[in-house]
């Protein structure tokens, strides 16, 4: 238990440290931006790193032809042993097309699922909240009326009325 608490505390401290450090020393920090604006050397450095990032993004954004996987598989299977080449799986691989990942495929339903989950959560909270409050009100009201009757007509009569 103590170990878990300690770990949680460590994690919290790490998170705070990271947040503080990144707020103070991240490239977006004001003093860094001010320095870069006035320092030619840093400006050059930032520009060259930006250029590398730009080139990487361009490379990543270039699509290849849809049949590239099929062709690559066909070529690779072509140099394997004949017994492997004739396996049905190999035949399937020769005609396979790139498919989006499961997460990407379901990402279009992400918003709808989030909305539905939010609605369910709201309904659940409302139901539990409303019903528990109603029970509370009922109990409190009964208690108040019993007290009133006890004060007005006496304990015995009040007990008789409310026990019935």
């Amino acid at each position: 238990m103590t170990r878990i608490n300690k770990n949680n505390k460590c994690r919290q401290i790490r998170t705070w440290l990271y947040k503080t450090m990144s707020a103070r020393f991240a490239p977006d920090a004001d003093w860094v931006q001010n320095h870069i604006a006035n320092c030619q050397r840093c400006r050059r450095r930032m520009a060259s790193i930006g250029k590398v990032n730009l080139a990487l993004s361009i490379i990543k954004s270039q699509p290849h032809k849809l049949d590239l996987l099929m062709r690559a598989n066909t070529k690779a299977i072509g140099v394997l042993k004949r017994s492997l080449r004739e396996v049905p799986k190999a035949q399937r691989l020769k005609t396979v097309q790139p498919e989006p990942k499961l997460l990407e495929r379901w990402s279009r339903y992400k918003h709808a699922a989030t909305n539905a989950a939010a609605c369910i959560a709201i309904v659940f909270l409302m139901k539990t909240g409303v019903f528990s409050s109603m029970h509370k009100f009922q109990a409190e009201g009964q208690k108040a009326i019993r007290q009133y009757y006890t004060a007005q007509v006496g304990q015995d009569l009040a007990d008789e009325i409310f026990s019935a």
Partner: protein
Amino acid sequence: MAGKAVSYGLIWDFAIAQSIDESQRWVLSAMQRYGQQLVTMLWRVLGNEQDVCDAYQDTFLRLAHYEGRRRPEHIKAYVFRTATNTATSMLRHRSAESRVIGRHFAKEARSGNPVSSPANELDSKYLQETLRCCIAQLPEHLRSVITLRDLAELSYAQIGAMLGISAATARVYRCKALQLLAVWMSKGKEKGK
């Protein structure tokens, strides 16, 4: 007697060959599992469909002939590292070829278009090729990390497991690789001027 021995030998050889073939189906499974990711990575590294097919073929051929046709312990790591190395050697070969051609046409280049110009700076093809050449020149440990992280889009944890380093080390290597690439790319620009 001798004929019987020969026939038994043939049957034995056939049985071994069959068992190897059966056991080598994992090559096809690996192709099915990692093929798409591998093709994407090779395409980003090489940028040429023919080269992608060659590198892909070479990778799986090596996998099929790995240490007496045995299955490597970490297939994913083996496949990705082999593909990265093959693609890098192809890139180096390509850049060496272009240097030879460049020397051949040096006179024309001097009189005509400069290697690096503001127009070229914005030219995406120029940027891509420069970056590819620079990546090929990186030390192996930095190159592997930047290729697997930025071009194969694997997580740091996966890269660490593949290369036998921690995720934090992989992060540091990527940072160093980016710095080196930035320096080299800006130097290339200055040389061009």
